[in-house]
């Protein structure tokens, strides 16, 4: 029973974390591509902040992954 609940918690943790991070990254990518297609010369200026923003969003998913992993291990 308890093991099942822990498995459920781990699944929920990584699922919700991935959902949030993926939604945010999709939004950022959509906005960036729209901006770059409107103004192709802004590609170089946008590249570094875009990668940084993606890394910050991905960090939340990574934290969720670590929590899920610790739940299953502990």
């Amino acid at each position: 029973m308890e093991q099942g609940l822990v498995a459920l918690a781990a699944g929920l943790a990584i699922g919700l974390g991935a959902f949030g991070a993926a939604t945010a990254q999709a939004k950022a990518a959509a906005a960036t591509f729209e901006g770059v297609t409107r103004n192709p010369s802004s590609k170089d200026a946008v590249f570094v902040p875009f990668i940084l923003a993606l890394a910050f969003m991905e960090f939340q998913a990574i934290l969720a992954f670590i929590v899920a992993f610790l739940l299953l291990q502990g």
Binding site: V48, I51, L52, A55, E58, F59, I62, L63, F65, I66
Partner: protein, 278 residues
Amino acid sequence: MRCFVLVRLAVWWLVGSVVFTGVAWAAGSGGEDSAVPTFFNIYQQIAYVLGLSEKVYPFMSALLALAVIAVMGLRYRSYVRRCLASDQLEPKEKFSLESLTETIAKFIYDLSKDLFSKASPHGTALIASLFLFVLVMNLSGLIPFLPPGSGDFSANLGIGLSVFVVYHVAGIRAQGFWPYIKHFSGPKVNIPVLGLLLPILIFVVEIISHSFRPVSLSLRLMGNIFGDHMLVGVFTGMVTWFIPSLLLFFGVLVSIVQAFVFSLLSGIYLSMAVSEDH
């Protein structure tokens, strides 16, 4: 010519995937008992022969990265210098270690030109060494039998803490001790009570966020690399043939992006500590 290079890469990839899946199968690590198969591990064997704990494998991976970078740096020193001296030296058509080195050097040079407004040899050296070190450590995890050193928290925390020390020392040297401490408390506020309370509040928040920086740097790298490695393991447990090798391409992407993010964030921290108007 370029097409030929692509064909050769594809052939190497196919050969590599067959070898990789064969190795995974030969290790007898199908997913009968556990979801994550345990591979034969070279670092573990070396540690066993030397009579060391197997926990030292990040150190061995770091030594491997150091050796690779030293060989690359000594062999291609003059090429890299030529690449840095003239701005428009294009990488060669032929895919070789030389052209790869040139591309990486150019990439790091452009990045440090963006980050530091005036040319900063120390900043460039920090970014370049961090990028190469983390990249080689990440990519070494894609070789069969070698776990990635950056998939462990200890090695990354070491790099993160050294970055932490370096940018604070650089900030103190650029601005002086008290002005550097003072810039944690934010801009000056000319309101009677708030003017006293707000800087203290901002100071505490800033100290907490600065202390979390090395942890977040290393945790991000560890989570990405470890997660990617585990994904390959889980897929190998499920399918064994061919499919896990598709994930190697994903692994290369993750390795490059994470090395880039790590060095970029360190460079940003350094430039923020050194710049005076912040």
